[in-house]
């Protein structure tokens, strides 16, 4: 699936992995987080060899990682409050009051109010994503992974989620890595971008460099995204006139 991927993500920045469907973005992210075992190569977290760590040490290192899954992956048998409190109850010695305060802080940070006692199926997709972010930042992670955070969201909510992730990256100083094929997001927030094509790294650079990249596949990818956007705008304008 993946071949010869060599990348160094920038500390404290919003890093992005882009590519078409089936290019290997999610597989790469799952390998980095340790949910899949790579057949070869090494994954380093600030110089620590994550690939060959003892499982117990690996689990402790994972407590420095926060992850937002494509569909939030909230625990559906738990309330919103219990979802966000879950890592705190397992890994900290905080009192119930301290945990409640931290949960309220995290939910407030993602602009959610009065949802503590609701279950995941009682809230909207956008709210589930925000609860997912709140849970991901509960332990103050050093690294934040987001797998297609805009997936299934309307354009306005997408912008809200993007802004939230950006703010959290800046406020908490996390190293954020986002999987996406949303070029609006990339061009707005991507500080370091790698482009995957058929499982290989085809290009890397910044959002300033991406428009002038001379990589043919990347150009087609950006063009398709831009075409889809302009086609959509044209349709809206036609409907207005009609």
């Amino acid at each position: 699936m993946l071949k010869g991927i060599d990348a160094v993500f920038k500390e404290g920045k919003t890093n992005m992995i882009i590519g078409g469907s089936g290019s290997g973005k999610t597989v790469l992210m799952k390998c980095i987080v340790g949910l899949m075992e790579p057949d070869g190569g090494t994954i380093l977290y600030d110089g620590r060899d994550f690939t060959n760590m003892h499982p117990k040490v690996k689990r402790e290192t994972r407590q420095e990682i926060g992850m937002l899954f494509q569909y939030a992956a909230l625990f559906d048998s738990m309330t919103v409050e219990d979802n966000v409190a879950f890592p705190l109850r397992l890994f900290t010695k905080q009192t119930p009051k301290e945990i409640k305060d931290r949960v309220d802080f995290c939910l407030d940070r993602v602009n959610l109010e009065k949802v503590n006692n609701l279950y995941p199926d009682e809230i909207s997709g956008g709210m589930r994503k925000r609860v997912g972010i709140a849970r991901a930042i509960a332990l103050n992670p050093k690294y934040l992974f987001c797998d297609e955070p805009n997936s299934g969201l309307d354009p306005q909510t997408s912008i809200v989620i993007d802004e939230l992730i950006k703010e959290i990256t800046e406020d908490f100083g996390t190293t954020t890595i986002i999987n996406t094929h949303d070029m609006n997001s990339v061009l707005e927030h991507g500080e370091y971008i790698i482009y995957l094509y058929k499982g290989t790294k085809h290009w890397e650079g910044t959002k300033e460099e991406i428009r002038n990249a001379d990589n043919e596949e990347l150009k087609e990818f950006i063009y398709a995204a831009q075409f889809a956007k302009e086609h959509h705008i044209a349709l809206l304008q036609a409907n207005k006139k009609g």
Binding site: K30, V33, G34, L35, K58, R59, E60, T61, R62, Q63, I65, M67, F69, Q70, Y71, A73, L74, F75, D76, F86, P87, R89, L90, F91, L139, F145
Partner: protein, 245 residues
Amino acid sequence: MSFFYHFGDYINMLAATFSRPEKRAIYFKRIMEEANAIGVDSLGIVAIISVFVGMVTTINTSYQLVSAFLPRKVIGEVVGTSVILELSPTICCLVLAGKVGSNIATELGSMRVSEQIDAMDAMGVNSKGYLIFPKIIAAIVVIPLLILISMGLSISAGIFIGKITGIVSPAQFIDGTRATFQTYTFTFALIKTFTFAFLIASVSSYQGYFMSGGSIEVGKASTRAVVYSCVLILLSDYLLAQLFL
């Protein structure tokens, strides 16, 4: 080869399941929740099965006892021994394999499909320990209690139907049951029940936890959990009987 692959995976799963928990208090709470789901929610079906098993066994045994030379208390002897040694542990556990086993496999399979298990692993939680350990412990504590209740209900139902139909008086029935009661037989029945409970919880957890795919595969995993649990219950029933009796 596939059998050895899955057996190895199963053993690895058990090793990870029984490793040191992150926080004992949370795991204790989880065990209580699972005990409620497995035990309390299964009480109704176990009671219904036990009552009918007791009644039918009493009537069947009476039908077989055509000779006037055999005292009526033999009905109590046969029903008591059958219920304690085989009917309650095996039939109830086969039914529980269907109810509890499919529940466990479906729950874990759905969590796998919706990436909830991945979310736990990504956080650094030992997801096998958190999800599977409470189920196994709850099963081996609660299912034997259910079987004890089943034994009591079956024998009581036998006494009841014997009195109603005039087959055997309660005194004769109880006399017969007490005459053949052996502590060894009773202990063997409990050993069987612990084994069956462990198989139901662990095999169903394995099927649900390691499934991959979508909703159709969740259904298939649930079916496999029930079928494999039932086959292993019957196989272990035979092996334990061969070893201990």
